[in-house]
């Protein structure tokens, strides 16, 4: 059963040109999905639509059978899905730990400050950030470390869907492998639905289902199964 379903989705930034056309997609829990395509194919726009950062012009996106347009987008973003941005989008004046705790605060997860911190340290540790680094300000961490913090933040409130936009785009090969391992384990071990938008051939090899976007349309209108 799909957790996210796109039905006949169209989107355009301007009135005269559709960036996405007639998109039908389905995403299930426990699988890693890869959305590939050339630059300008509409990959990031697709992620924005699934993340609730943009609104479809035509068609609909269903989350657990509910039309996303009729849901509170802020609640959806803070509780149901975790987004890992290519440029991390962490708050630089906060520490890694504070960034993770902040997303817990914003979500509906209610626990004591102490428990929040314990969970955040555990999550950061899982993605390779030890307690000493967790207490550093974001700008005192490397790009790879920041991306790990970003993953920990996306996991902090128990979202069932993880969206990752070019998660390894700014990382070296060794770190890239580690990040891919973390993301795939989230689907396979934690039964999450992981959707990765990428150019990376390594990711292409690791995902369970591939989608190709060409000029805003799904190639063959079908997902290619590995």
């Amino acid at each position: 059963m799909s957790i996210i379903k796109l039905e006949n989705v169209y989107f355009s930034y301007t009135a005269d040109k559709d960036v996405l056309k007639d998109i039908d997609m389905e995403f299930e829990k426990g699988k890693v999905y890869g959305v590939f395509g050339k630059s300008g194919a509409g990959k990031s726009t697709l992620l924005s639509l699934i993340a609730g950062l943009e609104t479809v012009k035509k068609g609909q996106i269903l989350y657990k059978g509910k039309n996303l347009n009729k849901m509170n987008k802020d609640d959806y973003r803070s509780n149901e899905i975790g987004v890992i941005f290519q440029s991390y989008n962490l708050l630089p004046h906060l520490t890694a730990l504070e960034n993770v705790v902040l997303s817990m605060d914003i979500s509906k997860v209610k626990m004591s400050n102490k428990k929040q911190e314990e969970l955040a340290i555990k999550l950061l540790d899982r993605v390779g950030i030890d307690e000493e680094k967790a207490k550093r300000k974001i700008l005192q961490l490397s790009g790879g470390e920041q991306q790990r913090v970003s993953i920990a933040r996306a996991l902090s409130y128990g979202a069932e869907v993880i969206l990752a936009d070019e998660p390894t785009g700014n990382l070296d090969k060794e770190t890239e492998n580690e990040i891919i391992e973390i993301l795939t384990s989230l689907a396979h071990d934690d039964n999450k639905c992981v959707i990765i938008i990428s150019h990376s051939s390594k990711i292409k090899q690791k995902v369970d289902i591939l989608y190709y976007l060409v000029n805003g349309k799904l190639e063959d209108s079908k997902a290619s199964k590995k």
Binding site: D75, R77, V83, F85, S87, L91, H93
Partner: protein, 508 residues
């Protein structure tokens, strides 16, 4: 709770910017604190002056309204009588009241005191009409005969300008034909307590009564006259005090004389009103209310008791507070200053906040992208401004308290200097001589004070003790909340403008 925590972290992160905002808000709070302290203290002082001096009110016939009144209104009009005054005085609002009656009389073999003390006394002959600076004038006699319902209201005796030096003052319940005269008049005419004097109506010498001198008073008032035509009756040495029984006899007789003089019926009617007004001018009544807030209710009461609309109700509120003119000006200036401060402050804070939010666009974008709603983002930014404002409020009040007294002293001194120099300048404009307006301090008026109007500059109140009370602190809190609200509104407008995806895409 996390909003407050995040706001605090954000404050610490942007120390430099927040210190700058804090300094600006502190400057606004200090200015507002001084302005409010001055305003509240001034208002309190003015109010305490009004409260400590009972509100004195009197009824004055509006002659212009009387002239323009319809025949019907004139027919309904009733002049003020002693009976009416007593009826109006019998009110829960009135703490005390008194009335006086005055007329002028002439004396048989009684020489009046001239204004020029060096020259011989004037001839009291009634043929001397228009005859000189200090002569009789028409049917106005040389002596001013006054009666008070309560001698305690004769200001000259209260102030000590006049003192009984022989005999005694006339008691309220005395109905005998008795008078109290001045020391000078007694000396001039070789009179003493117990002697008898005949006084008569200037317009009819046959109306004459004999009075016994009950007391003699000394008079320290100035004898210089500033009147255009100096009449003996206006010289306070020629003032004779008596009781109502005696004065009413003269006034009643004078009404009859006036009536007899009229020949034409129409003239008689008009002159009848004239007589009535003359009588009413002779009767002056003052009522004292506990508080100016009772005035409206009291007016309604006396109107319902029959006081004609042609009578205006006048109070001494402005006169009582005349010496507070610089304080009033200071208070008025403070209010204007406060309004300007608030407007300028709100604009400055608004601009700083706009810049602040623009700088923090990325942070807002991230918070929005991870699901923080617009209201909470706004609350966080408002909480930051509120924390800065609160800190500034504490510092601002402390500095304001320290500065408000010296600033007030300096401003008040400048204000008094400016008013005094304006007064001197007006005097110079007239050249030599005394052309200053009479002081209204003390609230005396009416015919009985013609001779002793207090000329000269006012001694303005030159001390204002400013203090910060709970009310002022509450007002400052309001100022603070206003500034925070302005900031909040600007935050909301800006934050609603930004969509998280656009902010993050632009940055990427």
């Amino acid at each position: 709770m996390y909003i407050i925590k995040n706001a605090y972290l954000s404050l610490v992160r942007g120390k430099g910017r927040n210190i700058l905002i804090g300094i600006i808000i502190t400057a606004i709070i200090v200015s507002a604190c001084i302005a409010l302290s001055i305003k509240d203290s001034s208002d309190a002082l003015i109010q305490s002056y009004i409260n400590s001096n009972l509100l004195e009110i009197s009824f004055t016939l509006d002659t212009m309204s009387y002239r323009d009144a319809t025949d019907e209104e004139k027919a309904e009009y009733e002049s003020l009588t002693i009976e009416k005054v007593i009826e109006y005085g019998d009110s829960d609002y009135v703490t005390d009241y008194y009335y006086t009656m005055e007329t002028t009389v002439s004396g048989t073999d009684l020489t009046a005191i001239s204004y020029d003390l060096d020259s011989d006394s004037s001839d009291n002959s009634s043929d001397d009409k228009f005859g000189g600076q200090s002569g009789s004038f028409g049917s106005i006699g040389d002596f001013r005969l006054s009666a008070y319902s309560n001698a305690a209201y004769i200001n000259d005796f209260v102030d000590g300008v006049k003192k009984i030096i022989d005999g005694s003052m006339i008691e309220s319940d005395n109905t005998d034909a008795v008078i109290v005269i001045s020391e000078e008049l007694a000396l001039e005419n070789d009179l003493k307590v117990g002697d008898e004097v005949e006084l008569y109506l200037p317009s009819d010498e046959t109306v004459a009564y004999t009075f016994t001198i009950l007391g003699i008073y000394s008079d320290d008032s100035e004898v210089e006259s500033n009147n255009f035509i100096s009449m003996n009756a206006t010289n306070s040495r020629n003032q004779i005090y008596t009781n109502f029984t005696s004065i009413e006899a003269f006034i009643e007789a004078e009404s009859n004389v006036t009536d007899d003089d009229t020949t034409d019926d129409a003239d008689k009617e008009d002159f009848g009103h004239g007589m009535m007004m003359q009588t009413s001018e002779g009767l002056t009544a003052k009522f004292y209310l506990e508080s100016s807030s009772d005035l409206e209710a009291y007016e309604a009461e006396v109107r319902s008791k029959g006081l004609s609309d042609l009578y205006q109700i006048t109070t001494n509120e402005d006169e009582v507070t005349a010496t507070l003119e610089p304080i009033k000006n200071l208070s008025s200036f403070s209010v204007s200053f406060l309004i300007i401060i608030l407007i300028v402050g709100a604009v400055v804070i608004g601009i700083i906040n706009m810049i602040n939010i623009r700088e923090r666009k990325y942070e807002i974008g991230v918070l929005r992208a991870i699901g923080m709603n617009k209201l909470k983002v706004t609350m966080q930014i408002v909480a930051e401004i509120f924390m800065v404002s609160l800190g500034s409020l504490i510092i601002g009040i402390t500095i304001g308290v320290l500065l408000s007294q010296p600033v007030t002293n300096s401003m008040l001194a400048n204000e008094i200097e400016s008013m005094n120099s304006e007064q001197s300048s007006q005097t110079e404009n007239f050249g030599s001589g005394n052309f200053e307006r009479p002081s209204m301090n003390g609230g005396r008026g009416g015919m009985n004070d013609i001779g002793d109007i207090n000329y000269g500059s006012l001694d303005y109140v030159d001390t204002l003790n400013v203090s910060l009370d709970i009310k002022t602190i509450f007002e400052l809190l309001l100022v603070c909340i206003t500034l925070t609200t302005v900031s909040g509104v600007i935050s909301v407008l800006f934050i609603n403008k930004y969509e998280p995806n656009k902010i993050l895409q632009n940055r990427a």
